[in-house]
Symmetry: C2
Subunit: 409 residues, 2 copies
């Protein structure tokens, strides 16, 4: 139980502002995690073993921050576009439900509300309805938090709370259409996760229920497959809501209810959590929610884990994505952003929500070099140089913060 | 050792026509496989455990024919384009080398010959030179052999000796260019595998050395990565020659020599093996070699393993590819090929050498239905109805042979 415990409670307490309730009843009902993360971690917890529920992950590829927060090592990212399941990061807001829910995947039920003919459907029924497959960047909104100089509370992700994943499932629009269409006036798509909630706590304070603008339904899926296999329990199987282009938290795992709603969810994770709060302020509904991702790129190789690099020709490799838009170009600078040269985009283009791999060949002389990269999307918008400071340390897509120092010998 | 033994010796004997030598010295030097396959197997050997060297494969997804021939179950194929590594079929002509060759992958050496400045290069050197990523259908030339009514000798593959894989490596043309270019008059690209050969047998009778037309170098890679991770030993790591569009055997594993040559290899696997020999005849160099793949498609779901399907709307799903050309369309017929309707192509297009996923929604009444599908490539060529009969049971791309009978209740 320890590794499946709520190991990010300190941060949740801050976000949900239900400190008293959680401290009183919550931890009594569940086992508190001995590995609770109470602030930024200086160095990756390299030696921690994989939690049992993700024992099938590649231990050499993962940094285990806590039982519910595992990051992909930068050096583990390959160059063949897709992130294999055994390397995909983990960030659970609550411990995963028991494995019994994936014993008969087709029997899992999701209730559809806010349509003219609301109904509860099994995964089996969804599979007979339609099929779509889409590649998306799945990224925790806190990815890059570890690069904020202000050291916000929360997992200090570097670049590895992100992956490029292919999903298969049924389009949300097809489900809505079959059920008579969306009721007039519904402006949000609200997904509720199937986590088992602890006793003695206001469910709204801990439940995973997220709302996104209803327009997101155009590309959203109720997905049962991830990179060619049924979605693992750890990644939200049997059924996960995929909202392409949106930050990870909006891609609700073990989804049990999908509702078209007039209002955003009043669960803390929506109301006060995951808000772009001005530094020092608590979250509130007036602040932007972490919905659409912004464009972002980073270098994977050479990286901080590469060690010194031999002088001469070096293939600088990395990834870039445009958030809601496709990538037009990724540029690299070796002079601190004064001049930029285009990198070459490599490999298959999996569509606008996927990332692109890039390679930038350069001959490096001995010394210390600082390399940066930035994306330009198909609308001509260039990735920002700076970050938007915020209490939660969300959405760091600053190209300057993602600079890589390479020692060449 | 049993599971790594030469378990397809009877077939190799036939192909290489060195029965005496193999029977005498070969089996003495190695352990003969108790699981030797001496003819077509009637039913998949479902219960066989995974051999130790591929213990990381998904046992539920694989049919273990022998220690060196593992097929992906039709029901295991997903719909999200890429075949995950743990599901990719295995077909080794010789047992894999020892794991020591992947202990220091960057140190693996390949000798390049038939260029103006022949040289031996490490994987590390290749990585600094260039990078390309390409998705290909990797398919054993015997895939579909089990569908030949003539029951040719050899593994009776159904559809699962095929996968869609993303590879990363260095383009062969870039290596040749760096070494001064290809010597005039070289018309083949010949790759030699790094398998350890048994003592007491003429190496030419068992070695894996394949030649392909030199034009194939335009898209060929020396690859070190497969689906985002370093190529496993079982799949030919640390370095494998990838010849997009060509049958599996031409994608030489653990490649230790890549030569531009005037002649095809005189190894048995090239000279007499893998030839489209007229039925009953032995292979000889005058017959076509199993080089370029032909267009092909098949239905994965519903399939023979699905059991009875409920009447009503069914999403028929499958894959199709064009061999050397991209897919323009995949059509489905439910009346034995008299009329065809276009299926919908689903998911990202990974390029002309990848397969496409298709879905075909149809309302099926109770009864037994026969479903067939066929590909049309971008040059307008339609997948053949029949097969080319041949001794080895190669290249079965007959749409009629790939028909699926579905029982609807």
């Amino acid at each position: 139980m320890k590794e499946n415990g709520i190991d990010n409670l300190p941060r949740r307490k801050l976000l949900a502002n239900t400190a008293g309730v959680l401290a009183a009843g919550g931890l009594a009902g569940w086992s508190a995690s001995a590995g609770a993360q109470t602030g930024p971690v200086a160095a990756p917890a390299a030696a921690r073993p994989l939690p049992a529920y993700v024992a099938w992950k590649d231990p050499g590829a993962m940094i285990v921050h806590t039982g519910n927060t595992l990051e992909t090592r930068r050096s583990a990212f390959g160059t063949s576009v897709i992130t294999p399941n055994e390397q995909v990061y983990i960030r659970n807001n609550l411990p995963p439900p028991g494995a019994e829910i994936v014993a008969d995947r087709d029997a899992w039920e999701v209730t559809i509300e806010g349509v003219r003919q609301p109904r509860t459907l099994t995964v089996k029924a969804l599979k007979s309805l339609n099929l779509e497959t889409i590649a998306t960047v799945l990224q925790c909104s806190g990815n890059g938090r570890g690069l904020f100089p202000s050291k916000p509370s929360g997992t200090p992700w570097q670049v590895g709370a992100a992956a490029c994943v292919v999903w298969s499932g049924v389009p949300v629009w097809a489900v809505a259409e079959m059920l008579g269409g969306v009721v007039d006036g519904m402006i949000y798509l609200t997904g509720t996760g199937g986590e088992k909630l602890p006793d003695g706590i206001d469910p709204k304070s801990v439940m995973v229920e997220r709302s996104v603008p209803v327009a997101a339904m155009a590309d959203a899926l109720l997905a049962w497959e991830m990179n060619g296999v049924p979605i693992s329990l750890a990644h939200g199987g049997p059924l996960r809501l995929i909202v392409p282009g949106y930050n990870g938290v909006n891609n609700v795992k073990y989804i049990k209810r999908l509702a078209f709603t007039r209002e955003q969810s009043d669960a803390a994770i929506q109301k006060t959590g995951y808000r772009m709060s001005p530094p020092g302020e608590k979250g509130d509904p007036s602040q932007p929610s972490v919905w659409e991702m912004t464009s972002k790129s980073w270098i994977n190789s050479p990286g901080p884990e590469s060690g010194p690099v031999a002088a001469g020709l070096v293939q600088v490799k990395g990834v870039g994505f445009g958030g809601m838009q496709a990538v037009r170009a990724i540029d690299v600078s070796v002079d601190d952003g004064r001049s930029w040269k285009p990198a070459r985009l490599v490999g298959p283009d999996l569509g606008k929500y996927a990332w692109r791999q890039f390679v930038f060949p350069i001959s490096l002389a001995p010394g210390i070099h600082t390399l940066v990269c930035r994306v330009t999307d198909t609308q001509g918008r260039v990735q920002a140089e700076g970050r938007t400071e915020n209490t939660g340390g969300y959405s760091n897509s600053s190209w300057r913060d993602h600079a890589i120092k390479v020692t060449v010998v």
